[in-house]
């Protein structure tokens, strides 16, 4: 090709498909129940797999006897995961698994496994650092500037303590897979063949990881996934159950095995968002300028102590600070990335502390957030100020906001609060193949996955835009590891990755088509354009061929790759990172019952160029709903006496319902200066500030900080009592 192709996005006024809002392409499949999730797969001869897990918060396995289970009717395989001597530092720890002809037989067999435990002393609560004892691991102190002097010089000092409970991902489709491992005739495993239908956020990374663990070459592992019922950061690897499921299948002579976690086990071991607690002092001037910040933080992400995130969030250029962080080793399942890991806790602690400081200074928190946006990363200072103003406008802040505690005379008090978010969201490395066939049909092939975010629709829109075709003229194939590899869908990296590789692949393929038909149109390839299912000469719309007629001139199909390595400098301007968001919660609190109701929730979010505004808004709605649920309801409740997880179910692990979320107002910040930055991921940033905004709104309503999230009636009433005492 003579010239480097021009991959850049068409200018806004030339876009036909990008920037429009078709409904998600798989919506009818999903809403009608025709979509088959991996857990819906029931291949012929499938066995039902089931785990036996530890009932104790901390125990050592003394002995295990699977004899009776192995002899139990219908049992085809038993796998011991924890041998004698294994320390099992949380409830739900995997001990053994069985595969049987039916679910009932598997359940009967699991109950016949005999295990002796040596129960060890446990710690399952972390809200009080003083009670953590030797389980606390100091993470060291970080000092910036001269915090002691700055505290002395301060005109306003505000102190607070804030806490944020462990919550779980609660994916509606639990972790697991259907897997079939057919042994071959070579003991090395070289002829073994594995087919797996996992519930994963990383289809293309799955085979390599599973293959390493089961010693079968990834080339012999077929991974297929059409739909996934939620991941949120918890489903990146095959996990132990992928390996165990495969082993059960092999033991059973190659029959497929369905091994999914039970709901309770899912909530115990399949990941959680760690807790975070912080004692924070904010000091500054009467005008609301922050000059110093001290932070003693602690929290737990499970048995391996992980300290809570650093402070302050976003406002990282506060000149003076002292920060201490401690991780606590708890006897609970391990943390996993939870939709913007670390950022929610960080935003919660920071934004609550700023709101308390604004109150102490007697200032409108909106102005205090805007003023201190000077401490945000330089490139985002103006963005935050713009977004805070936009959110305030949509939330009617100037009309509805009142100083703390002046929420009206009745028993129901209204209040408003602010939270802010940051996220990178640069696309991951991605490869796409675009195929143009001689009959005019078009396929896009990419081993990505659609987590429910709309990835399928987005890829199709990008291809349709390049080719000048309608969406239904583009066939998309994803979720299949025979296709060119994409990355895992985490870190909000998918849209940047797939849109970049798809754009490149489709531009490359179109250039080939232009070269093939240019002589017929009496033009050079660079004079051609693809518009409205025609290939035509720019400026001479009469000199054109229909898309199909043009493709018929090909002697063979075109198959072109588009590759992107995930580096900012190699995006060809198509994608970037660095998103910002500002949100405002508007709540009513019944001061007699402590029940918080959402009135309105405003989310202003930028994500660069928006491919499908409807789906972008939908992402923000989903994030806000999930966030409201954690702010008001969700909490892992542990019993210190027994070490038991008391609510590993959907009954007392409370999730928000549709009537609990109020009116959500989404504003995508798609100003031209954001559009020209290219595509930025969006799944996570809008999920960041909700606990902060809701907690601030409740404090504003009732006149006192409720220190602990979720904001349950007992906590709200207790805070009111302390205020009235």
């Amino acid at each position: 090709m003579a010239n480097t192709p021009d991959y850049s996005w068409p200018p806004e006024d030339k876009r036909k498909v990008i920037g429009t809002s078709p409904q998600r392409l798989d919506g009818p499949q999903k809403s009608s129940g025709r979509a088959k999730y991996s857990s819906d797969m029931n291949p012929k001869g499938m066995l039902f797999g089931l785990y036996l897990t530890s009932p104790y918060a901390y125990a050592r396995l003394k002995s295990i006897d699977t004899g009776e289970a192995e002899r139990s009717p219908g049992v085809r395989a038993v796998h011991v995961a924890a041998k004698a001597g294994t320390e099992m530092p949380w409830q739900g720890f995997e001990i053994a698994a069985v595969a049987a002809d039916t679910e009932e037989q598997a359940r009967d067999a699991v109950r016949k496994i005999k295990v002796e435990y040596e129960v060890l002393p446990h710690l399952v609560k972390d809200d009080d650092l003083a009670k953590a004892g030797t389980r606390a691991r100091q993470g060291g102190e970080t000092v910036t500037g001269d915090p002691d002097q700055a505290m002395k010089d301060a005109e306003v000092v505000s102190e607070g303590q804030y806490g944020f409970a462990v919550v779980t991902h609660c994916c509606l489709e639990p972790h697991g897979q259907v897997v079939q491992w057919v042994p071959g005739n070579d003991p090395s495993g070289a002829n073994d063949h594995v087919t797996v239908w996992p519930s994963t956020q990383n289809v293309s990374g799955y085979a390599g990881s599973l293959g390493t663990n089961i010693k079968v070459p990834a080339t012999n592992i077929k991974v297929r996934m059409d739909y996934i019922g939620g991941g949120f950061g918890s489903k990146f690897t095959p996990d132990a159950w992928g390996v165990v499921g495969a082993n059960l299948s092999k033991q059973a002579g190659g029959r497929p095995v369905k091994l999914y976690l039970e709901r309770s086990t899912e909530l115990m071991i399949a990941g959680n968002r760690p807790s975070a607690y912080g004692k924070i002092t904010v000091a500054g001037k009467k005008d609301g300028t922050i000059t110093a910040w001290t932070y003693q933080g602690w929290g737990s992400g499970g048995f391996t102590p992980v300290p809570p995130p650093d402070q302050p969030y976003i406002f990282t250029r506060v000149p003076n600070s002292r920060r201490n962080r401690t991780g606590i080793a708890l006897n609970g399942g391990s943390q996993r990335a939870w939709r913007a890991p670390g950022n929610q806790a960080a935003s919660f602690l920071t934004c609550c502390a700023i709101e308390d400081f604004a109150h102490k200074a007697g200032k409108d928190p909106l102005e205090v957030f805007k003023l201190n946006a000077q401490y945000a990363p330089e490139a985002r200072v103006d963005t935050y100020r713009f977004q805070l103003d936009k959110a305030a406008e949509l939330a009617e802040w100037k009309t509805l906001w009142h100083p703390r505690g002046e929420g009206g005379g009745g028993t129901v008090k209204r209040g408003m609060g602010i939270g802010v978010a940051a996220w990178n969201g640069l696309g991951h490395a991605s490869q796409c193949r675009a195929v143009i066939n001689t009959d005019g049909s078009v396929s896009i092939e990419i081993d990505s996955q659609d987590l429910g975010t709309g990835t399928k629709t987005i890829i199709t829109q990008v291809a349709a835009e390049t080719f000048g075709l309608a969406l239904n003229q583009v066939k998309l194939v994803i979720g299949n590891n025979d296709l060119p590899p994409d990355g895992g869908s985490g870190g909000s990296t998918t849209v940047g990755g797939v849109s970049t590789s798809t754009r490149k692949a489709t531009v490359n393929a179109l250039d080939k088509l232009f070269a093939a038909v240019a002589p017929d149109l009496g033009a050079t390839p660079d004079q051609l354009e693809a518009v409205d299912a025609h290939i035509r000469v720019k400026g001479s719309p009469n000199k054109s061929l229909t898309w199909v007629a043009a493709c018929r001139k090909l002697t063979s199909s075109i198959s072109e790759m588009g590759t992107y390595n995930g580096r900012q400098q190699d995006t060809a301007g198509l994608a970037t990172g660095g998103a910002a968001g500002a949100q405002i919660a508007d709540v009513s609190v019944d001061t007699e019952t402590g029940i918080v109701k959402m009135n309105r929730y405003v989310a202003v979010q930028d994500c660069g160029m928006v491919i499908n505004p409807r789906l972008a808004e939908s992402q923000v709605y989903g994030a806000v709903i999930m966030g409201i649920s954690t702010a008001l309801f969700e909490e892992r409740i542990m019993d210190q006496e027994t070490g038991k997880y008391l609510n590993p179910d959907m009954e007392f692990y409370k999730l928000a319902g549709i009537a609990d979320i109020g009116n959500i107002v989404v504003h995508m910040d798609i100003r031209p200066e954001n559009d020209k930055r290219g595509v930025i991921g969006l799944g996570e940033p809008p999920a960041v500030p909700i606990c902060a905004a809701v907690s601030n709104a409740v404090a504003n309503a009732i006149g006192v900080r409720v220190p602990q999230i979720p904001l349950t009636p007992d906590r709200v009433l207790a805070a009111l009592e302390r205020r009235n005492a």
């Binding site: 309801f633 027994t642 038991k644 609510n647 409370k654 319902g657 009636p713 007992d714």
Partner: protein, 320 residues
């Protein structure tokens, strides 16, 4: 879940003949909203499941003689839409969240469901005893009882029970040997030991209907629940007022979800006599209703909620 025999009787006589003398002999399946989860968790492992949904005589709401006969199979949704049932009972049904539960769950099941205590549901026994002591008072008791002295600290899960007690309703319990009628007020009991139950229903009996006497009382129910979506109440109150003009001559005030049984608030009933219902008298009645409350380490807030529920139920009852 353990393997079980499934029986599909068409008559009450057949059904009662399929029950046994022990709880483990049979489980009665109506809406199944509780039975199935109990069985899945192996908290209840009946040898036989007796489906009573084909027994026509257990359906429907009928007016007869002294009152209303509500068949045990009437769904929560049917009761919530009833024009015949007293207001407090309709309101109690309306509060029960989730369309699925309202459409599958039955009134008989509401009264017979097992406690929702998480110690019980996690397999630690009805009274959550460890080394002869209940785990609840020193444990996670935010949703537990604020009345009673143990050893039962769970709360009655019934949403209809409090209203039925205020209305003087009775339940009919039928076994192969005969039938008996029991006032709802004495249907619920606080078990004294792990082998006892929270109702007087025997393993060989089926609750077949609820008999609600005709009433001219002003009634209402108010429930405090955190979520609008599926969630259990934190506290509830049902009231029934006999009025002379705007004065209360007799009052029934019963709290729900605060004790192992619906809790009759006698002091509140006394406090209301001779009063008209105003914000102030309703508030005083609420205070009287929680006299004698003994909150546990985490649930003092439920005392506040019970007070508020009584106040709001009373004000609701006298509102046109």
């Amino acid at each position: 879940m353990q393997a079980f025999e499934y029986a599909n009787p068409n008559t009450l006589q057949e059904a009662t003949g399929l029950l046994g003398a022990q709880w483990g002999d049979a489980g009665v399946l109506a809406g199944g909203t509780d039975l199935l989860s109990l069985m899945k968790e192996n908290l209840h492992t009946p040898k036989r499941v007796v489906n009573i949904k084909n027994i026509k005589e257990l359906e429907g709401i009928h007016r007869s003689g002294g009152g209303l006969r509500i068949g045990a199979l009437v769904t929560i949704d049917e009761l919530a839409k009833s024009h015949e049932a007293p207001r407090s009972l309709v309101e109690a049904a309306e509060y029960i969240p989730s369309p699925q539960i309202r459409h599958m769950g039955t009134v008989g099941g509401d009264l017979c469901q097992r406690p929702r205590c998480w110690y019980y549901r996690q397999g630690m026994g009805l009274l959550a005893m460890k080394d002869g002591k209940s785990l609840v008072p020193g444990g996670e008791n935010r949703y537990h009882a604020i009345f009673g002295e143990g050893p039962a600290y769970f709360v009655s899960a019934s949403s209809l029970g409090p209203a039925l007690v205020t209305l003087g309703a009775r339940v009919k319990l039928v076994s192969a040997k005969g039938s008996r009628e029991v006032p709802v007020a004495s249907f619920f009991v606080a078990p004294a030991d792990e082998n006892s139950r929270e109702t007087v229903l025997r393993p060989d009996e089926i609750l077949t209907e609820i008999i609600v006497p005709n009433t001219t009382m002003k009634t209402a129910t108010y429930e405090v629940r955190q979520k609008e979506a599926l969630d259990w109440p934190l506290a509830a109150a049902s009231v029934a007022l006999t009025m002379s003009g705007n004065k209360v001559t007799a009052a029934k005030v019963v709290l729900g979800h605060v004790a192992p049984t619906p809790h009759v608030a006698t002091a509140a009933e006394e406090a209301l006599k001779g009063q008209s219902v105003t914000e102030a008298t309703a508030e005083s009645a609420g205070k009287a209703a929680v006299e004698g409350a003994r909150p546990l380490s985490q649930n003092a807030y439920k005392v506040t909620l019970a007070k508020v529920a009584v106040k709001r139920a009373l004000l609701g009852a006298v509102k046109a």
